[in-house]
């Protein structure tokens, strides 16, 4: 989901067995763009590599970050080609692309069909319907949400997909990016602290109230002040 100034991507990572590691589903594409994938993860790797390449080439030529809206269109055009050539097959993944550009934070969903849509919040993958239901209820608060509440909402949405299973920091991955904050995946400790914070409360977080208690956040820049700044241009 996204607010005016931040995008949060969250995924559930279930390993095949106790012995194996889990699939990586969230990729950093550039400091200001991250992507979460659902589907054939091998295709996901290929497209992530393409996106990273495009970002780097743009950065090299223009010394400026590639606006996420343009990357998404290039990605969609690439996917479309595979739907029109008989000897190709469509990419087997849906991508949630979160990123920043001049007009603020954006979240896009790219389909194998070559379509792309911008979203306030979205969920993809198996059991995503449960998350979608939660998001449909809460999405109106996201635009003006603070960074912390946005992350909390992501964790709540994840919990919905687990159908009663306990939400622990070992099975989920949370990534955050925002104005003044580069894309990064939150480490397990931080996630654990966040999870325990809202499980103690035991109910959904208030829509827009400031945080109770200080939480050790990894990103130094944007603090708990509600992001009600008017959509400020990105500090490029």
């Amino acid at each position: 989901m996204r607010s005016k100034s931040h995008v949060v991507l969250a995924s559930v990572n279930k390993a095949n067995s106790e012995l194996s590691s889990h699939q990586k589903k969230i990729f950093k594409v550039d400091d200001h763009i991250g992507v979460a994938i659902a589907g054939l993860t091998a295709d996901g790797r290929v497209l992530s590599r393409y996106m990273r390449n495009e970002c780097i080439n743009y950065s090299y030529t223009y010394e400026s970050p590639l606006p996420v809206g343009r990357l998404v269109v290039q990605l969609a055009d690439k996917a479309q080609v595979c739907t029109q050539r008989s000897w190709k097959r469509p990419y087997g993944i849906g991508l949630l692309v979160g990123g920043l550009d001049e007009s603020g934070a954006h979240l896009y969903y790219n389909c194998p069909s070559g379509n792309y849509f911008e979203y306030q919040a979205f969920a993809i993958g198996s059991r995503s319907q449960a998350a979608k239901t939660y998001l449909e209820r809460k999405f109106e608060t996201f635009m003006d949400s603070s960074r912390e509440n946005l992350i909390k909402d992501a964790l709540f949405a994840l919990r919905e997909t687990l159908q009663g299973e306990k939400l622990t920091s070992s099975i989920c991955t949370i990534a955050v990016m925002g104005i003044g904050e580069a894309f990064h995946v939150l480490d397990q400790e931080t996630v654990k602290t966040l999870i325990s914070e809202f499980e103690i409360v035991g109910e959904e977080p208030p829509a827009d109230a400031p945080d109770q208690g200080s939480v050790a956040e990894p990103a130094p820049a944007d603090q708990g002040t509600p992001a009600d700044q008017s959509a400020s241009p990105m500090d490029i």
């Binding site: 090299y60 030529t61 223009y62 010394e63 400026s64 606006p67 809206g69 550009d101 001049e102 007009s103």
Partner: protein, 236 residues
């Protein structure tokens, strides 16, 4: 070894410039950027063309001034027009600012230099975007930098010392123009390819304006001009 430089038969590279423009001087001032250049196009030592516009606007946010081969400048303008056109065609609220255009030109100039086929120009690129002022220069070999005041050619030797002494933040428009005129006057006295017909271009957040061509008042009765070798016998 010859193959590295290209065989004589299919050689299509710039060997020497034909019609050239002389210095361009640029400064940052309170509201934006000011560029000054005369309207001369020299054909070797002949001051052949006297209405060459060496200052042009690029998109909504930038201006460019060129010295060196005029035909190569025209080619650069074609590249830039195409760049801006494609940028506008995205129609997505993002636009290329002066930093991006400067770095694009840097890539082009350096690439051409590596192929031993340079665009024989020294360019000044300035602009304002989102309140940020930007002023930079790129040479024909790809050397590039930004500063509060830049110049090409003779301007580096004659104008920049004046600017180093007299430039300060928050110059008003009138002060900026006066300072540029002082530089251009010195160049007119001392640079043999200068002509007394100049334009001053301005870019601010609001937009681009360029003055009508005008001439500077000159004074040729300095004693130093009349008796140049007084105090230094043998000099000129």
């Amino acid at each position: 070894m010859n193959n590295l430089i290209g065989s004589e038969g299919d050689s299509q590279r710039t060997l020497y410039p034909y019609v050239t423009g002389t210095s361009v001087v640029g400064i940052k001032y309170k509201d934006g950027i000011l560029l000054a250049a005369d309207m001369g196009g020299s054909y070797g030592s002949t001051l052949r063309y006297k209405t060459v516009e060496r200052l042009k606007s690029v998109g909504k946010h930038s201006i460019i001034g060129a010295s060196g081969e005029i035909s190569d400048f025209q080619e650069i303008m074609r590249y830039l027009d195409e760049l801006i056109l494609h940028d506008n065609m995205w129609d997505d609220g993002n636009s290329l600012g002066p930093k991006e255009v400067h770095n694009y030109l840097r890539s082009v100039m350096y690439n051409r230099r590596n192929k031993f086929n340079p665009l024989w120009n020294s360019l000044v690129l300035g602009g304002v975007k989102n309140g940020q002022k930007y002023l930079g220069t790129v040479s024909m070999i790809g050397v590039h930098y930004e500063d509060n005041h830049v110049a090409t050619g003779f301007g580096n030797h004659l104008a920049r010392p004046l600017l180093r002494d007299e430039w300060h933040e928050n110059l008003t428009y009138e002060e900026g123009v006066k300072l540029l005129e002082k530089c251009m006057r010195v160049l007119l006295y001392r640079d043999r390819s200068a002509v007394n017909k100049l334009q001053i271009a301005k870019i601010t957040e609001e937009g681009f304006t360029i003055s009508q061509p005008y001439a500077l008042k000159t004074f040729w009765d300095f004693t130093a001009f009349k008796n140049p070798t007084v105090g230094a016998e043998g000099s000129w």
